[in-house]
Amino acid sequence: MQGMSVIVKKIAQLMSGLIFVYGVYIITHGHLTPGGGFAGGALVAGAFILLILANGSEYIKLKRQEEGSSVVESTAVLLVLVLATTGLVAGSLVFFNNFLPTGIPGRLISAGVIPLYNIFIGMEVAAALITIFLALVIYKEEISK
């Protein structure tokens, strides 16, 4: 995949950081404001997809990236399951039990395990979308050789 012009590359470099930070904000404030793991993860993935589209496929080492995002995705799903099973063990035998203290509603650190679930599912969604996009890009590179 070819990169685009210098203007597009520069704007993409400037904007992708902002989009990434906004995605992280949506994930970490998921229990306070609208949004959550799914929306923030999709935003984080969009920041990376913007960089890859603007700079072309020679910009990053693509094969290593795809393996890394695949590993991150699987690990995040596993962490969600481990957290849910921990709720089963700790406290009253309920899967997805909220076993941490809930704290004061409205603070950033509150609501027990819900922010942790949001962070892990954000990692999973971002890594899954990046993996799908990178798989398509790498496939196209390979068949065009």
Binding site: I26, G30, H31, L32, T33, P34, G35, G36, F38, A39, A42, L43, A45, G46, I49, L53, K63, E66, S70, E73, S74, V77, V80, L81, A84, F95, F96, N98, T102, G103, I104, P105, G106, S110, A111, G112, V113, I114, Y117, N118, I121, E124, V125, A127, A128, L129, T131, I132, F133, A135, L136, I138, Y139, K140, E142
Partner: protein, 175 residues
């Protein structure tokens, strides 16, 4: 509110029909994007900002991927030969439409008015979710506390999609 919704949904239906019948695949994708962004405005009117954020981001990423695919392959639709006996299929289609409309009318006649549904289960969620889960965003509180299994299923669907894409596309690369 209902008038706005009806207008947007009518435009979405027209755009969907255009997307089916367009000869140029790029205009078909743009018409399909009209459907997605119209859905975003519907969510915003119905006061569901969580869904609107997810829908607008996912719609943008999907449009980017599909535009890249179309620009890379051909822009014209392949010539698909239709069945010649058009009279019979049209008659069958109209009969099915009439039957479906009759039963749809009978099904929705027992429902309450738009926006005035009876709250039984959801009323307990709305009143107790903030105090029980400690999460001010009720949607996230319900998703990760009362409905944890559903959310785990959604995450598994996305995980399975990624694994499927890797299995189909990356078999040659991993030799």
């Amino acid at each position: 509110m209902e008038v706005m919704l009806s207008i947007i949904i009518c435009f979405m239906i027209i755009a969907a029909i255009v997307a089916i019948h367009a000869r140029d695949l790029l205009s078909a994708i743009i018409a399909q994007g009209f459907v997605g962004y119209g859905l975003v405005i519907c969510f915003l009117i119905l006061k569901a900002p969580d869904l609107a954020i997810v829908q607008i981001v996912v719609e943008t990423i999907t449009l980017i991927i599909m535009v890249a695919v179309v620009l890379d392959s051909s822009r014209l639709e392949l010539n698909v030969s239709f069945d010649r006996r058009k009279g019979g299929t049209t008659a069958v289609t109209f009969i099915f439409i009439i039957v479906l409309l009759v039963y749809f009318n009978r099904a929705i006649s027992g429902l309450s008015k738009f926006g005035e549904h009876t709250l039984r289960m959801s009323e307990a969620y709305v009143t107790d979710a903030a105090s029980q889960t400690g999460s001010l965003n009720l949607v996230t509180g319900i998703l990760w506390d009362f409905r944890g299994y559903d959310t785990l299923g959604e995450a598994t669907v996305l995980f399975t999609a990624a694994i499927g894409v890797l299995t189909i596309l990356r078999l040659t690369g991993k030799k």
